[in-house]
Symmetry: C2
Subunit: 268 residues, 2 copies
């Protein structure tokens, strides 16, 4: 079941449930329905209506699409993609998604989310049009957020200065220090209105935490059930601490191969 | 970091690592590099070269894009989307992805994956062109797989008959029985060449299990680190057993509202 199940079906069902609860006697059945209604009709704690996910050629697929899917479960909130130019935007392996809004057209967002990637993400940290747009959006956003190496872009825009933050495990501390932020090794970090997550799938956990912040536990449990989010990782791995050191070393070498010449040309 | 980091960077790096290991003395450093190389150069246990993910308007975003991202980490394997007609395919909430292959063009796949959804998924269980194509692909596939309610479509095609399987929690047993399959309440189930997963995010766990089956633990740990897949769900929830019963009841009512009239018109 997906976004439609909650987002659209809920809106569709509100009238139905409301009518039904009026017909029902004040017995235990009615109490159950009143409890359900109170979850569905929770008013968000902050007036979030628009969530814009900034994408660019080379974006990491799940960094962007994971939070897109999860946050789309926020009833009455519009979640969409924004790019430097609208049109087809390619992920790292050939997936093309259609983006209908350019940064020139989007002047305000309640929530901004920046996904990561690799080489192209680093290139975005040098793109002044993008960085200026991020600063402009950040001025009035309710939350400014990133997933994975998306924090490099937020950092380059200057909005993480003196903030606690996290990012992908690769050179996490070095990259955040570069932008004046303080690395905190957590799945996701909230410092004021700034949310940052660790790599890729950490964006799912952060998105659920954002939903919880706005809507509370019961609503979030509903979303988690809709996602059947009761993960069972095959191995006790997935973070640097838990991974076979040889494997971590191999992955770091591979990332270095692509990124070292960009990040730290002197040490090439 | 994403697909490119492993898939493309690995290919790019093989020559580099190979040259490097030749230069290095047979000391501990070299042994480390030999170990890394042996992980990278693992030969898949089965000759999987193509993975086709069947999508349709109304597909559940993460059901399809989660496995797409994870399975794209299989070195040397082409992972792509297939639809009844090629062109733009919409998810449940407005995301549009470009699909470059139609079922008429795809006559063989090493791995077929069918994502779920809600109303449109049930409609696919009645689409004879799609069901015939699935049967044709299944005849020579190495693995035939589904995520979430995608099992309804596999079931309708007849390929899960007498098999152990799982699917989204909603009416799981009823729906699998309808197609002659036997429900096993697991995150994912493998019965011979048939893999099925529970709802949405269970597709990530199943995809990692497929990678492990083909490439072994160290390669899989590399992929898990690339995904930073060390999940920390906000609440101990996400499955029927762990969710507040009132919330489960609410979600079931919402799904019933959309699906009951289709699944079981007599009981409307």
């Amino acid at each position: 079941m997906g976004s439609k199940s909650i987002l659209q079906t809920i809106l569709f069902s509100l009238f139905f449930i409301h009518s039904y609860s009026q017909q029902t006697e004040k017995d235990s059945l009615s109490k159950k329905h009143q409890a359900k209604m109170s979850v569905l009709m929770t008013t968000p704690k902050l007036p979030v209506k628009t969530i814009g996910i900034f994408v660019y050629d080379g974006f990491n697929t799940l960094d962007a699409v994971g939070p897109y899917h999860v946050l789309s479960q926020l009833m009455g909130v519009k979640v969409f993609f924004v790019a430097k130019q609208k049109g087809m935007i390619r992920n790292q392996t050939g997936l093309k998604i259609q983006v209908d809004r350019s940064i020139d057209e989007v002047k305000q967002l309640d929530v901004l989310l920046i996904p990561g990637g690799a080489v192209e993400t680093f290139q975005m940290t040098k793109d002044s049009a993008v960085l200026n747009w991020i600063r402009e959006i950040d001025r009035s956003s309710i939350y400014t957020t990133s997933v994975c190496t998306g924090a490099w872009i937020l950092g380059a825009a200057g909005v993480l200065k003196d903030k606690l933050a996290t990012t992908n495990w690769y050179r996490a501390e070095e990259m955040l220090n570069r932008y004046g932020a303080h690395f905190k090794e957590e799945r996701w970090v909230k410092d004021g209105k700034y949310w940052t997550s660790a790599g890729v799938t950490a964006g799912l956990d952060m998105s659920l935490a954002i939903i919880n912040n706005l809507m509370g536990e019961q609503y979030t449990q509903g979303v988690m059930l809709d996602l059947e989010y009761d993960p069972k990782p095959l191995f006790n791995a997935g973070s640097v601490k838990k991974t076979d050191p040889m494997v971590t070393d191999m992955m770091r070498s591979l990332y270095d191969k692509g990124l070292q010449p960009l990040i730290n040309p002197a040490k090439k």
